[in-house]
């Protein structure tokens, strides 16, 4: 099991308004042409950034005020669409250490857990309030507690929610699922030995011809 447990995240915030922001927008497909995740953080939201700039606006991820941010505050169904882990990887490599949103797509949420980026859940009202707060105080620190599922800022502490499974994994270091899974190799073999299609009929598998 990984020794790296995660309880507290501190840093300034970055607001990102909008529902159903999909992983194609977080990291456009052309940046998936890579065999490592190195450097992928530079391309987070690249097309949205350009699209907004063309209209004279500034996307949060291009806004100098938020460049040092660690806590992303988004809205509903964040990270929907493609399962590409490149999306949370690009956010993390950009600097995002935790996310607060109304809801997440499940694959995105799972991908965030496996790279130790906690995803907190809050109401629409609170997400919007926090986004306003960050805009007004871009360098102010937010403190997130995984154990209490809270965010503290501007002298107050507000209760959030977090998936209890993920919460436990961050607190005991088992967010890195692989080591826990590996411990059970004998049990895995025992299950494989009783799954009907691996034993009684099975794939007439071409891999034997390798």
């Amino acid at each position: 099991m990984s020794k790296f447990t995660l309880n507290e995240i501190r840093g300034s915030g970055i607001p990102l308004r909008g529902t159903d922001i999909d992983t194609d927008r977080i990291i456009p497909a052309r940046f998936l042409k890579c065999v490592t995740f190195d450097g992928i953080g530079e391309h987070a939201f690249e097309d949205d950034i350009k699209g907004i700039a063309a209209k004279g606006g500034v996307h949060s991820f291009a806004d100098a005020r938020f460049r040092k941010a660690a806590v992303l505050v988004a809205n509903r169904n964040f990270g929907c669409g493609s399962s590409r882990e490149h999306a949370p990887q690009s956010l993390k490599r950009w600097g995002v250490s935790a996310i607060i949103a109304e809801s997440y797509s499940e694959i995105f949420h799972g991908n965030c857990v496996s790279i130790a980026v906690p995803c907190f859940i809050a109401s629409q009202e609170f997400c919007s309030e926090l986004q306003n707060h960050i805009e007004a105080n871009p360098s102010a620190e937010l403190v997130l507690s995984v154990k209490d599922a809270t965010v503290s800022f501007g002298g107050r502490t507000v209760k959030l929610s977090i998936d209890p499974g993920a919460q436990g994994q961050f607190l005991d270091g088992s967010w890195d699922a692989r080591s826990g899974l590996l411990e059970n190799l004998p049990a895995i073999r025992a299950v494989a030995a009783r799954i009907p299609y691996l034993n009684q009929f099975g794939l007439s598998t071409p891999s034997k011809a390798l």
Binding site: R76, E85, S105, A177, S204
Partner: protein, 473 residues
């Protein structure tokens, strides 16, 4: 109380309940492709891990591969694409994994080749680093799209940490109007339940309409489960499933076939299975759907006006407005008549032989409208070969379509097939996200292959139900 297929298959593959409350689930079939696997192999190499069940993993190349014959020569012109191809070749060689390669004529979209080779079989758990893995649910499997770290988990342990889902049964009752296809059924349930309506659920599709569907149609329906937010979607296996599998390359043979049948029948949901939710959608009410926005739920029956922003709940209006702005459509307008620049027939949603046959019906003796660029991309090399044997390639070429090689192509535009600028594409794929088809300002209208074929000929969105093909029947 009876059990659903979901519960039966989940329980059968459960290794252990993990301290986190999740379950460690054995993965019976792991499919990999070039985009989401290289980092996973790097992770297991770094940790010095091996692949204990290499015979349960199968690989192909689909996302980055060019589909124009000239561009498929090695080394690929795009050096990044070539590097990715070399990685999957080396990784599969090093770890003893079967690679369905272009050179062997076995390559195709990962969700197309699993079923066509008979790898996808009822009762399996299937994982692939690709969200449309839900496609395989058509065979009564639990099939999950996963991220790259999980691809590494599956390679190194043949298991994944998963939470138990709720199950929603969606019954499609009655029958479909002519001109309404499996793609419309998929767009219909996403329209009704929303893009995040399925979060926390597995979708079980059933009812008279699903019962009558072919396997290829069921794959189209299951393919888009993920667009509705569901982690997976499936159809219970039945005679249609068994007939499809009988005789395929990797299907059980002889005595094994008989024991497979008995097992496959036993894993279907019991008649008295309890569901966490049940939804009914009447077949007669499903129109040919077209998406007008930037999420797959932003769709409209082709005969209906585009929705009015103020009719949405306040929290939803922002994304509706954003969609109208991006697409340059106006609320209340008709989608019929929208001029089209590009037509794309293909993808793991609608790139199978029956899709190519159906669209071709609308192209006999017709020409693609002036100014329209039209591509047809078979889902696998084997589909391309079969289609060519039937002469479908000639019908498409005569009509002015480009007949291409197998791959994902313009579904996500990681290869040279891309929209330019603000082009509007009538597409049979599954995602209409901003920039999805390669141009950051490009626009996608999702629809069935028949609707796309008619749009190609007319040069604009047209209601396929009016087409003479149907009056002749």
């Amino acid at each position: 109380m009876g059990q659903s297929l979901y519960s039966k298959v989940f329980d059968r593959h459960c290794v252990e309940r993990l301290p986190s409350g999740q379950h460690q689930i054995f993965i019976g079939l792991h499919l990999i492709h070039e985009v989401t696997s290289p980092q996973a192999f790097a992770m297991i190499r770094e940790q010095g891990l091996s692949v204990p069940f290499p015979e349960l993993t199968f690989a192909t190349v689909d996302h980055i591969i060019p589909t124009a014959a000239m561009q498929r020569k090695r080394p690929l012109m795009d050096s990044q694409a070539e590097e990715m191809l070399q990685h999957i070749e080396k990784n599969t060689r090093d770890f003893g994994i079967r690679f369905f390669s272009p050179d062997a004529g076995e390559q195709g979209i990962v969700h197309v080749i699993g079923p066509e080779r008979g790898l996808t079989q009822p009762g399996m758990t299937i994982a692939c680093g690709d969200s449309h893995t839900s496609t395989h649910g058509a065979f009564g499997t639990l099939a999950f799209g996963i991220g790259t770290s999980q691809v590494a988990d599956a390679l190194a342990t043949q298991t994944l940490a998963m939470s138990r889902l709720k199950v929603r049964r969606i019954n499609f009752t009655g029958s479909l109007q002519r001109g309404v296809y499996a793609k419309d059924v998929a767009l219909a349930y996403i329209h009704h339940l929303g893009v995040n309506g399925g979060v926390g659920f597995a979708y079980e599709f059933g009812g008279a309409i699903i019962d009558r569907m072919t396997m290829e149609e069921r794959m189209t329906v299951c393919n888009m489960s993920i667009e509705g937010g569901a982690r997976c979607g499936y159809v219970n296996p039945d005679q249609t499933t068994f007939d499809y599998l009988n005789g395929r390359e990797c299907s059980p043979k002889g005595a094994a076939w008989e024991s497979a049948l008995a097992d496959w029948k036993s894993i279907a949901s019991d008649a008295d299975a309890q569901y966490d939710d049940v939804v009914e959608i009447k077949g007669e009410e499903i129109e040919p759907y077209v998406t007008w926005g930037i999420t797959p739920a932003q769709s409209v029956g082709v005969g209906q006006p585009l929705p009015i922003v103020n009719t949405f709940p306040v929290g939803d209006r922002l994304v509706v407005q954003e969609a109208y702005e991006y697409m340059s459509f106006a609320e209340g307008q008709s989608i019929i008549g929208t001029p089209i620049d590009v037509v794309f027939i293909g993808s793991c949603t609608n790139g199978r032989l029956s899709d190519l046959r159906e669209a071709a019906k609308f192209l006999h003796g017709k020409k693609v409208a002036a100014g329209v660029r039209a591509l047809v991309v078979p889902g696998s090399q084997s589909i391309a070969t079969q289609a060519e044997a039937e002469g479908l390639d000639k019908i498409y070429s005569a009509a002015g379509f480009e007949w291409r090689n197998a791959g994902c192509s313009m579904c996500l535009a990681m290869n040279p097939d891309q929209l330019k600028g603000r082009e509007i594409c009538a597409s049979t794929s599954n995602r209409n996200f901003k920039g999805r088809q390669g141009s950051p300002t490009g626009r996608t209208l999702l629809m069935s292959p028949a609707m796309a074929a008619v749009a190609a000929v007319e040069g604009r969105v047209t209601d396929v139900r009016q087409h003479p093909v149907f009056s002749a029947q």
